[in-house]
Structures are given as structure tokens and as C-alpha cells.
Symmetry: C2
Subunit: 210 residues, 2 copies
């Protein structure tokens, strides 16, 4: 007479976008989220920059030449791409779209240019989250604390960060990154809530068709 509801409900995967001005602590949050939030997958980006430290090609990034990057981009192989300072970064299109079709959720660490492209291309499947540091002074402190950059480079990043900060109202959610565990918890709430959104279930979810 009555069939059980399928659990987990059939739904499309979600593309979670994490953007922030540099110095907001986004990379730490991004890594903690991939480790701590169940079912969030990493997307291996294409980049033209050189590997740093222990980065492994095909795992951390696909490291490619400018020529190859341009060819892939012009062939429609990227879901989004952006040039940041002296390097280009892009998200391969095929694995992203496969994940969405198969109901797997992806967490993308991308900048404002890239976020806009993803939201334009996948308006129903993308959820955009902006991360802010508690204050601009805190951001400056974090940037200087790295100790790896020249004053010129720091000033350039600060100017850029200040401009990027104004972009938060165009994102769906805002996390003020005061404390990393709290921020991971907030991101987890967003992920778990978005998984329950009824609009994502409509295609395959039909309870009680009896």
C-alpha cells in the first residue's frame, strides 16, 4: 500500500563556494571543513603557478603551463577560472558536473571572480559563503604574521582585501571567522541545512506515491 521514503532522498549535489579576502583564515577553515564535515569533496584545480613545498601534481593541483591552461579554458573545460597576481587558477568542468549529477557535494575554495562564474553557470546548485576576519586590523596582522612577503606585496594584498571585503552582500552566507572551531560549526550548519532544501529534492523525491 505505502512505500517507504527513500533515505537519503534523491537529490542533486551541491557546489559550496568559499571565498574570502586574503588573511581571513579561509585556507585553514577550508582544510578543517574537508576533514571535519562528512561528505564534502575537494576539487583539484588547474593552476599555472609552480608547486610549493610538498604539493603533489594531480592531488593538490593539476600543475600546467600557461599554454595548456589557455587551451583547456578555450575548449570549455573549466567551470570557472581566475587570474590572481601572476598565476591562473581554474576548476575542471567535467568532474564538477559529474559530482552534481551523482548527488555528491563539492567544496570550492575560489575567489570572487570564480564565484561569480559558478553562480551564473549553476544558479540552482551553488551555495556561496563569504568569510570575513573579525576586523581589518586582524586581517593585517595575519598577513604580516606570515613573514614571507615584502612590504610592497603586503600593501598590495591589503588594498585588494579591502576591496574584496565589499563583496560579501552578493554571497548567500557570511561567516565571521573569530574562532576556527566555531567557523567550522557554522559552515557545517550551512552544509547540512542546504542538504535539506526541498527544491533540491524535487527531481527524484516522491514520497508516498502509492
Amino acid at each position: 500500500m505505502s512505500k517507504p521514503i527513500h533515505l537519503p532522498p534523491l537529490r542533486r549535489g551541491i557546489i559550496f563556494i568559499l571565498s574570502a579576502p586574503s588573511g581571513a583564515g579561509k585556507t585553514t577553515l577550508y582544510r578543517a571543513a574537508l576533514k571535519g564535515i562528512a561528505g564534502l569533496e575537494f576539487s583539484v584545480s588547474l593552476t599555472t603557478r609552480r608547486p610549493r613545498g610538498a604539493e603533489v601534481d594531480g592531488v593538490d593541483y593539476h600543475f600546467v603551463s600557461e599554454t595548456k591552461f589557455t587551451a583547456i579554458r578555450d575548449g570549455g573545460g573549466l567551470a570557472e577560472w581566475a587570474s590572481v597576481f601572476d598565476a591562473s587558477y581554474g576548476t575542471p568542468r567535467a568532474p564538477l558536473e559529474a559530482a552534481v549529477a551523482e548527488g555528491r557535494d563539492i567544496l570550492l575554495d575560489i575567489d570572487i571572480q570564480g564565484a561569480r562564474q559558478i553562480r551564473d553557470k549553476y544558479p540552482d546548485d551553488a551555495v556561496a559563503i563569504f568569510v570575513l576576519p573579525p576586523s581589518f586590523a586582524e586581517l593585517e596582522g595575519r598577513l604580516r604574521g606570515r613573514g614571507t612577503e615584502t612590504e610592497d606585496s603586503i600593501q598590495r594584498r591589503l588594498k585588494r582585501a579591502r576591496a574584496e571585503t565589499r563583496e560579501w552582500p552578493s554571497y548567500d552566507f557570511l561567516i565571521v571567522n573569530n574562532e576556527i572551531n566555531r567557523s567550522v560549526g557554522e559552515l557545517e550548519a550551512i552544509v547540512n541545512a542546504e542538504r535539506l532544501r526541498s527544491a533540491r529534492l524535487r527531481e527524484g523525491f516522491a514520497p508516498w506515491k502509492s
Copy 2:
């Protein structure tokens, strides 16, 4: 030079709406949510039905006559109202709007008619959540398990429940109530995520205006 961001950010309160076909376990979930989720407030409804058990006037409900209910409703004193079987229920408008203006979040346990009225009146401030039992058989079992109703009454409720079930796609979120603790956790994720929605912060939240 730079001011700290106000925490918690200034925002309007949110009206969370919980609806379900009868037998979905909504009342248990509603009570557990008010107890277990920080900062969710109860709205005392107006009703024309008689008090049951230990219910206290002004605490559980405002118990009023049909005449008084109609007068308040016609005077614009209700944010929503509905007639269910032999009684009417309504949500007083003034305390609800005060809560939203003051940034306090309310959880409303209301039916589909009432939910539609709230969403129409407060499209930016309402978040609607539908609760389903795992299956129709489970719903029937829960309704019969109460042991307080005639077969006629049960059949009437089952028919109504089946019709109400079809309403879930018009809600923002769907919780399938398999296990109460899991459902409370899902509701908490929705509450905490919606509190981070940037659109709710725009009015008063202006980081880094320096």
C-alpha cells in the same frame, strides 16, 4: 583606523514555520526544538478550543471564545489563522512583529493554511520547514497508537494527512522524521544556517566602515 565587526551581527529576527501532516511527530519535534535549540522562542497562539490536561491560559494558549477570536481577527490582530476541525487557531501579530524587529527568532507550529499566510506577509523573514514521517504506514500507526480517537476520526485525519503531504514542495526545507534526535539536529542546522544568511544582515551590518 579599523573598527571591530559587531558580534552578533545586527539582523532581523527569523520566523521559523514548522508544518506537518498529523501523525508526523511534529509536536514532539517542536517541543524538543524549543528546549534544545538556543534562542528559539515560542509564540502563544489564540485558540477557540477548550484547554486540555494541564494547559494554562496565557502560557500554552490564549483560550478565547469564537466571538472574541473573530473580533481580534477582523481587527487585524492576527498574523495568520486557520480553522482545523472544530476549532480556530491564530498567531497574535504584535508580539511576532516585535520579535522580528528586535532580532529574536520565533518557532511557529502552524498548519499549511497558516504557513501560507505568514510567508505571504513576511516573505523575507519567514523560513518554512515541512516534517514528514518515514512512510504513510508509519503515520497511520502513530495516529492509531494515540488510542484516543474513533475510527471515523482516524480515517478523516488519514485522508487529510495524505492531502497535506503533497504540500512539501512549497516549503523551503524538508525533514523526514525518522528519529527525533536526528530531526532536532537537522532543524538546528537550518536555524543556525539561516542566522548566517547575508541578506538578513544587510540593514545594520557594515563591517570595516573606517
